[in-house]
Symmetry: C2
Amino acid sequence: MTQASIITIGDELLIGQVVDTNSAWMAQELNKWGIRVKRRVAVGDVWDEIWQALDEEKKQTDIILITGGLGPTADDITKPLLCKYFNGSMIVDEGARQNVINIFTRLNRPMIERNLKQAEVPDVCTVIPNKRGTAPGMWFEKDGKVFVSMPGVPHEMKGMMETDVIPMLLGKFRFPAIIHRTLLTAGVGESFLAEHIKDFEASLPEHIRLAYLPNYGMVRLRLTATGTEKEQTERDVQTRFETLQSLVKEYMVTNEDEPIEKTTGRILEANNKTMCTAESCTGGYIAHLITSIPGSSAFYKGSVVSYANEIKKDLLGVEAETLQRVGAVSEEVVIQMAKGALAAMKTDYAIAVSGIMGPDGGSAEKPVGTVWVAIGSNQKVEAHKLSFRFDRMRNIQLTTANALNLLRKFILAGN
Amino acid sequence: MTQASIITIGDELLIGQVVDTNSAWMAQELNKWGIRVKRRVAVGDVWDEIWQALDEEKKQTDIILITGGLGPTADDITKPLLCKYFNGSMIVDEGARQNVINIFTRLNRPMIERNLKQAEVPDVCTVIPNKRGTAPGMWFEKDGKVFVSMPGVPHEMKGMMETDVIPMLLGKFRFPAIIHRTLLTAGVGESFLAEHIKDFEASLPEHIRLAYLPNYGMVRLRLTATGTEKEQTERDVQTRFETLQSLVKEYMVTNEDEPIEKTTGRILEANNKTMCTAESCTGGYIAHLITSIPGSSAFYKGSVVSYANEIKKDLLGVEAETLQRVGAVSEEVVIQMAKGALAAMKTDYAIAVSGIMGPDGGSAEKPVGTVWVAIGSNQKVEAHKLSFRFDRMRNIQLTTANALNLLRKFILAGN
């Protein structure tokens, strides 16, 4: 089986200044085509460490994808290193040079000598054009192994992978089929599910694996099948996936590998309904997740992020007396927020949330992690109390995922 | 110099289903204490691959931190593997057992045999209590090297690192000082900066390194100094950092390693001023970034996420005629949105944005990436046109970062 390694280069990855999102994207992309990523390695901008990583990965895999370290500044040493590693000499690539000039002309920025350095490449590589930036990609071959160096800037790397690297890999290797099928459950834990489906799990053949992926209090179940023939592998996994779905039916949120905001959005769109949000503690995160879906304007109208109590009163019509009497984090207030949002934004459904996300602001009666969620339509508004713990960002994410799932259930219950 | 490796375990990392945020957090934490992370490796839930990663990393570094693969389900093989790797036998740890029971009692969930399996540990490790979950951490020592296995769930790992792992490492090793100082610039590119400060860069001593970190159209400059004595190293880097600041003064946004929302928030708080947002294309992302800062309620009141044009009219007072005549993505509309937001939310400042984030919705006149931003106070509203390209999420992030920087400049200009 042809396997790949991903090497990411940059001190920023090793001091934690940057979260590596490239590797996950690249792995997904490779998987689609049947290429298994065996290892991912991150090393700093240090000559010996990069060299050693190349030596090691080529022992283990056939395809080594490298990102980062291609900038025009002195800390970026990947290009000269690769030139030496593959015994080449630097030459100017005319296409890459023209690309640098075009970019600076278009941006109307002054170009300096250093920018043109980006057009230099080792003469032993195939140049991969960069349509989104100045640093070209480089494809090297040695002892039957392929090494591809790409910029670390995510959208530049993505463009290069899609238009050149993947097609070139498919031209060079033959890949088996890898098929993933994923469903999302809510309301039960990983151990409970594992117990519930243990016979199913034990019955799986060697080439189909089951994984449990807990996230935001929900659990994803993923079946992965490997085979030599795509259609057959798809049929193999489909049969098992249907069995799995029937086993976890009552906990299943969606049988697609998609985030909850997409599931709830699809249901709204299918029913030709609209929604809005009134957000206190989530501070716009629910709106953000929904609007990160292209086309969400079909079902999502907007949000009032009522972080301050005045906004709850002025824009959502929450009564001053209620705020005074029971506080902003209360059943009564979220119900008024949901009703106010429905009235102000004229949608079919509304989500309203108010809670204490931490690290401060908790009390004995309402500790950090206390959240009230209201889900409403023009006929009915219901409220739920949720309790989380720990850190602020996690509480915001948990509140958002749960609120979107509550709206999904509210709609499916016929409201 | 004592160095560390981070090994993350889980097929989800290699198929790209999960972005690894643990490694970045761990690296930051280790750096604070003078521990350099030399390598990060991700491997799947595969016996031989995990084993091999342990073998390799122990050759290269002294501290090997491992996360993931400790769940109660069959795909999690890290614990039995570590038991074998260190020639141990499984025993029940009474503290861990009591912890599992306590958690299930508190959550009021039925506990099954499988949950108690979490309390089994190899008899050759020091157990690290998990105050936030059921899987205990494990500390192994062999040939002077330390191996620490922690759960992959981020908040469980974080709790363990802070309360136990870091103090235990500090008790065992002596670390040099590593000091980072970072500043953020806007408005000029990486190459321009590199040219501008090349003499400074060339003058740096061996033990101080400069890195360029471009992100969202801004560039961070980071100085990293390594030394044996903390105070001296701090003084060394401080002198250079002051020189660097004076060299890039006119482009500098902040001399703290902080995101732009924090910089702008600090200025508002220092001036005792408040702000709000009116967001169309960013869909709540500006509000989310600001409210992700604990204590942001001191300066941030809220947002109207006016994704639909009706919301722009009904809640922000944008005129129907203007929308009809020039469209939602226009100078006139964002100015009306900013004025409407100031009136509705009664703050000192407002940011309003409207644009085309893609992938669809572009036209010849207003291509994808066209954004209008208005920055306003009750005295003055100004509008800026921004042009981005590429993907939706990146356009949302670029718009947000730029809008927050424009507000910062607007305030500092005396508005």
